[in-house]
Symmetry: D2
Subunit: 347 residues, 4 copies
């Protein structure tokens, strides 16, 4: 509240892309049976299959936490544990919804850049040994965010290495792809290169931060998980009744590559911001700007004055690392103006 | 799929009312902080307070099952039980989401018309006695649907009688108001006459079936429940990130009484349908048509042919009672055409 | 408290059979690894395999509610429902532990004698049809009590008929055998005739009401359920550390047929009590006395005075049906004295 | 299995103290109402009040994980988190039972000796700030083990400092006192000095590792938690039916200070073992031997040969730190023989 028209708080501060809104309006025609038995949903699911393969199955949901909970639920028994980065959205930002709904434990691993690596998995799972007892939870899922909460991106080879170590230890690979579009745009690869072809077992695919109003999806790559996705979505209160409007949003994003244009633009704005801000004395960019997030360290006492110009979030406990997010509607002017504000406040 | 443009399957088959869609489009302006820290949400919450009293608190959510789960969660410990009609949406149509998320037992009561009555509560709770043991769950909440799943409506005096018996036995009153607007329009009373002033403790208020795209709300009447509503909404995966678009839908419905016009129209169409259909030989209207639902008994072998004309649902196990729902966009022509179809199929 | 030395309140009012206590004392020798890696457990599990077949697997637990929760957990996904008699212990006397721990819904069916019958299953499951939607929970388990909470017993042919209807509808059969010994003694058949050979999928086998101090077991008949039994037992807080003492109790009950002698005696005392009490004017025996429970109707105002002589429980809401339980240590003198007390109080 | 008569694997490898077994046998007299309505339970609860204060309330349970789950449940809402040492039994050894049953997240903190300290709490909770959002779980409970899983002991002043920081941040203090007796014996203080008088809110008090067969207790210090303890115990499947035998065990331990004699002896044996083993070349004692556990580092390749002499557990992932536990029945001869075996194997 009181924030200026466009800021850098989050990509979910952005509005709806006009093409998405137009698709919603176009779907507002006559009656359609609820819960997905409509032609817009049929069409959207076809586009998902085109992206992720004919053997994939997609379940549309309202929100990102819902997608993660439903998706993880297709992979886990209650005594299974999820290996994830300590910074993962599922660990930090979902108020313990995975634990509450699934009953499962998360095993957070420390990283410097939000990315899990095979050796972290080996170090954690390896010590439990083959004769695993019922006293301990059973590591079962590796959950990664693509792009990560630190704005970094897993390359296809890194993903394949993770899925290989998963197979080696009898684990499954979950991807929180709330910003998968940004990762695919950054690497200039199709979505399936980072998912279907990289050994991902279940994907949360995000539309909301990419220009939708509110549209997320659970994508499974083994139709044996259909039952738990179908019932789990309903039990998780994530089955939209007027499904056609969620479907229409994805139709708009997926039909002509709008998702990629949106993501690529946001990424470009982040790089511009990072490059320009790095030239301001007192600003240190702290993470690789792979996608649409910029992490920077500022003099601690300059943060609050700068937030008053345009709102953004402080990221670390120590209080001097901040996150600036760009979105599909961030303009070059926004970036340039903000850098001027940074320069002025830090002067 | 393949259903005609407008049918009588459900009020969630209808689309978005044009004023609601316009409000969503109007909210698509600039950046807004996520999760409700925006001016549209502020405004919508003010309209809720105007309807339900300054002491009420409202939590916007995505869907109806979510609203019920979050709302019930503010009233229950895991060892508490919910008394509800056997036909209640929470008992039949939410795939056990209340049990899974809250851990609580539902105690379904048989009714003929979907309505609970004080003597049913007394008969059930009374026998457990004052020295209640930990072997049994503790009846704690009476949950009613307004209007009910049978299209019947509780009058204010009936509601006050239920809240009185609730107080007598130390129970709380939850209302699933997915169609509260239809009830209020039917009785021509303000929303608060059926909620705030009738002793309701927590309300699920539905926008979706009343012309919204997807907008529901949890309304609490004791701000001591704020904490559990706030955290419970997030844990139930029902906290929308781009909240402004949910808020805008309610703004449109509540600002100038659109909710009442929509509901009154749907109710009027249901009465028209019931009156006309009742004149068709072989059709028997089985429930009081208080709101926007018509229940009727038809010759069993005529149902499938009629469904092919316009889809609707069979309601009972025996297979000859059907439900016809009217919505804000049902026209007199739709009704009249459908009655002709009924007449033709039953001839 | 204040109850006389032996009463008819429940078979868990009885103490420990001397042979069971002696077995516990005999196991108190040196150190033994915890959680079942000891020779007493090894031996007891062998006796379970001898009773239930070499393909069965047994998990020893502390208590009966625990056994039910762990056993049901091997059969259910969270969206599955359990069909059971409305009077079932899991439905009435476990404080909703199944719902809380498993997240599942129970679907209680009305019976007159505590016994489910195939037509009740057909009537309930049949109407849901093959194209079952995610809106409703999925019936998955039939849970029966043997003997029932009304002291009645399923014959082997009745059990086979239930397991046949289970297979027909894709359901599984769970038996709460807290008093399975009483049923097997009543029918003079081996335990396996009522379980392994009758198509039971998972069994809770009770020792406590049969003369143990506190010893129950989950028996599975498909070793594919081992994982969920093993982890589920630990998560349900039902893995005893000093397991040898639970094992020793079962060793004593199973080694030389002590369980059958105890159960047969209790059954005999119940028949004696029923026969003698039936001759008292004003007493009506209300259920078939198949096992160790007697249900009777008495003049309502005579119940409290009689309870002061020897405690027992009133069973129905109306307040004039009572339950008298016999146990392994009930004597003929106890029965005869109690009948005299009944006669005197009702005179 | 195959382990020698007495080893150093765990204090739950020990048997039942003869006085405890005698008490169980003495309670085996006539009938007693189930679930605690018996004179042995009444007596034991009186002894608990004598130890922990007249305002305390005690709930007897079967096992330690059960006690922790029930006790924590009286303190937590599902969105609350528990701060604990990463090595805590609730975090590592309970198979995620707290997460599954309570739905809550644990926030494990790294320690060197198993003990939490006020600054760790401040560092973790302090950064969340006063305007805590629903995105994150809410730190609510500090859970400590006394003695810790590393055999270290909190002094009364350390406990008071923790309860002070708890009050400062609106947190509650839970103590896993599976080995509280060892701590109190080590410090030569009454139980209440480490609990009631130190600001503990809820205690798990262990009998099993102190010479009982299987007897644990949840002690609450605010009777406002009675309801959740009572219902939570039943729902957690931790309400013993033949309660008198659990009560009798505690009666034996508490009546004449048997618990203290047992604990003091085990502690003495641990000190003896540590002192003697420290003189063996190649052995390094790694933790302060405050109670009945000895942690030591050995040459990695000598561990397996030594385990073949007398079993014990390897404690760390690296594979060269081991734990030796002493119990009430460990003899000086056991210790001396074991040290000779160590000496021989390491020679």
């Amino acid at each position: 509240m009181g924030a200026p028209a466009r800021h850098f708080a989050s990509d979910n501060s952005a509005g709806i892309h006009p093409e998405v809104l137009a698709a919603v309006a176009a779907a507002n025609e006559g009656h359609a049976l609820a819960y997905g038995a409509d032609r817009w949903t049929e069409s959207a699911l076809g586009l998902f299959r085109a992206e992720f393969g004919e053997d994939s199955g997609t379940y549309l949901v309202y929100g990102g936490t819902g997608a993660n909970v439903v998706g993880l639920g297709t992979l886990l028994q209650p005594w299974d544990a999820v290996l994830c980065a300590a910074t993962a959205h599922i660990n930090v930002d979902e108020c313990g919804a995975p634990e509450r709904f699934l009953g499962c434990k998360l095993l957070p691993l420390q990283t410097t850049d939000g990315k899990l690596r095979p050796e972290m998995i080996r170090d954690t799972v390896g010590v439990l040994g083959p004769d695993h007892q019922a006293h301990h939870v059973r590591p079962r899922v590796i959950s990664i965010s693509q792009s990560t909460e630190y704005g970094t991106v897993y390359r296809p080879d890194e993903l394949r290495a993770l899925s290989a170590v998963a197979r080696e230890y009898g684990l499954l690979l979950h991807m929180d792809g709330a910003r998968l579009g940004n990762a695919a745009a950054a690497l200039d690869v199709p979505l399936r290169a980072l998912t279907t072809d990289a050994g991902v077992d279940v994907l949360s695919f995000g539309g909301t931060k990419n220009g939708a109003m509110g549209a997320e999806a659970v994508v499974i790559f083994d139709r044996g998980r259909d039952e738990s996705a179908r019932f789990g979505r309903k039990q998780a209160t994530q089955l939209p009744s007027k499904m056609r409007y969620v479907a229409a949003q994805f139709e708009a994003l997926l039909r002509n590559g709008l998702w990629r244009r949106n993501a690529a633009h946001a990424n470009r704005m982040a790089r511009r911001l990072a490059e320009e801000a790095a030239s301001v004395p007192g600003v240190a960019i702290t993470q690789s700007v792979d996608a649409n997030a910029v992490f920077a360290r500022l003099p601690g006492d300059r943060i609050a004055p700068l937030q008053e110009k345009r709102f953004f979030y402080v990221w670390d406990a120590a209080g001097d690392e901040v996150r600036w997010m760009c979105s599909f509607d961030t303009t070059e002017q926004d970036v340039d103006d903000f850098v001027e504000e940074i320069r002025a406040v830090l002067a």
